[in-house]
Amino acid sequence: MLRIFGLIGRYFLLMGKVFSRPEKAAIYRRRIIYEMESLGINSIGLTAIISVFIGMVITLQMSINLDSPFIPKSLIGYATRETMILEFSSAVVALILAGKVGSSIASEIGTMRITEQIDALEIMGVNSASYLILPKIVASMIFFPFLTILSILIGIVGGWLIAAVTGIMIPADYVDGLLMDFKTYSIVYTLIKMVFFAYIITSISAFFGYYARGNSLEVGTASTRAVVVSCVVVLLFDLILTQILLI
């Protein structure tokens, strides 16, 4: 228990260093754009593939489970849309990104630590924590919500495709369901969640990488820990934010 408190304390101390005044704003702007490409644009493919398949699977499962003459088929489109917006495109995409982006951040920063690149920055007088971590946090908080929007759109299109290809329902009914009882706040809610998740994934992964010690084996361990802890904290905050924002 004491160890967990120690870890939390070190995490907040690191965040204090991360959010201290940057050396030169122009350098940070350049690094944020670089990180947007590295962490965000490079994740579009994975997000798109997973979203289209999940959209298809949700539509298929809904059509199997809502197989009653008393339930209108359009509800399948409605359920697919709500599932994608409320949970999949924020929480599940965040868990997937924790695996991809989180492990990449932890191993990148961890390798920099054990190869003395971070020491080299410190010797130059650079605030290494801020220089390395802040652009990643800002880039992901800006870009991950776009991935959420993309995931929602692609998932919904996936559902429509499977409806059209397999003939389980008339695509027009699916579209009717999509337009049924739409609340803009659901989008706001999912985007707020994703901004929090982006911060959690990048800051926790960077923390484990920054304090990696020893050799490449330790970097691997740090990377695994980063993913596991990020996932658990994402799920915890999913619950907390849902309670605060929806109920």
Binding site: E23, Q117, A120, M124, G125
Partner: protein
């Protein structure tokens, strides 16, 4: 001049540096020598502030570095250049970007002025046409040259080198040694080199400090080291078969 006073440093209860007091002279190539695990790297990292000593002080030209806060240290660090054992170049940046980074962060120079300085430093370490290469595309010797260029780009007053010859062939080692020696005299820097390479000692050592089991065992010049009457030092200096034979022949 850099002075370490009564430095003690331990890790998990194991004393690595035990009451070390030593002075490194300005405009000279100062060498810290000793076996692997003797505490050389810990001493070097304590001098630059990467490790905090358990007790003792480090003075940079009369300023007590150990007692300074983060911001004051930052100012002194702008006068420090360091060459790490593996080069420690940023993997995601090109040679040019690596060398230019301190200029980008701490100067108000124009892009053209910065590039002039970068190219000057790269030429000074005799590394041309490598600006756009990444560290992964460089040889060990080239990495060390880029690290030297990056270390001198801000015109530092203090240069620290942690085993600059490790992993290099004997010829390249001599080139790197001579380069550091030339730069030290050219810019009047206080240079401290960590090494266990006796060739470096005989080539460029002006002041030599021998560390053994975390304690300062001996200090002197390269001419004195050959005649020192210190068993541990002699065991270290004449460890190789070739050195032993040379000594026997001389005697």
């Amino acid at each position: 001049m850099i002075r370490a006073e009564h430095i003690v440093k331990s890790f998990d209860g194991r004393v690595v540096l035990d009451d070390i007091t030593v002075e490194f002279e300005t405009g000279k190539t100062n060498l810290i020598i000793g076996r692997s695990g003797s505490g050389k790297t810990v001493l070097l990292k304590t001098l630059v502030g990467l490790h905090e000593p358990d007790s003792g002080d480090v003075w940079y030209d009369g300023v007590n570095f150990t007692r300074l806060g983060f911001r004051e240290r930052k100012e002194i660090r702008k006068d420090i250049g360091m060459i790490f054992q593996g080069g420690a170049l940023l993997d995601s940046s090109t040679v040019e970007e690596n060398v230019k980074l301190p200029l980008d962060l701490f100067t108000a120079k124009s892009e053209r002025e910065k590039m002039e300085r970068v190219n000057f430093c790269l030429q000074r370490v005799r590394l041309e046409n490598a600006n756009k290469l990444y560290p992964a595309e460089l040889s060990g010797g080239m990495i060390k040259r880029v690290a030297i260029a990056r270390a001198i780009v801000m015109n530092p007053r203090y240069l620290f080198c942690d085993e600059p010859n490790s992993g290099l062939d004997p010829q390249t080692s001599i080139v790197i040694d001579n380069l550091i020696h030339e730069i030290t005299h050219e810019y009047g820097m206080t240079t401290i080199i960590n090494t266990h390479d006796m060739n470096s000692v005989m080539e460029i050592g002006e002041k030599i400090v021998y560390i053994h089991e975390g304690r300062k065992w001996w200090e002197g010049t390269k001419s004195e080291i050959l005649h020192a009457e210190n068993r541990e030092l002699n065991d270290f200096v004449f460890a190789s078969a070739m050195a032993k034979r040379a000594k026997q022949v001389a005697e």
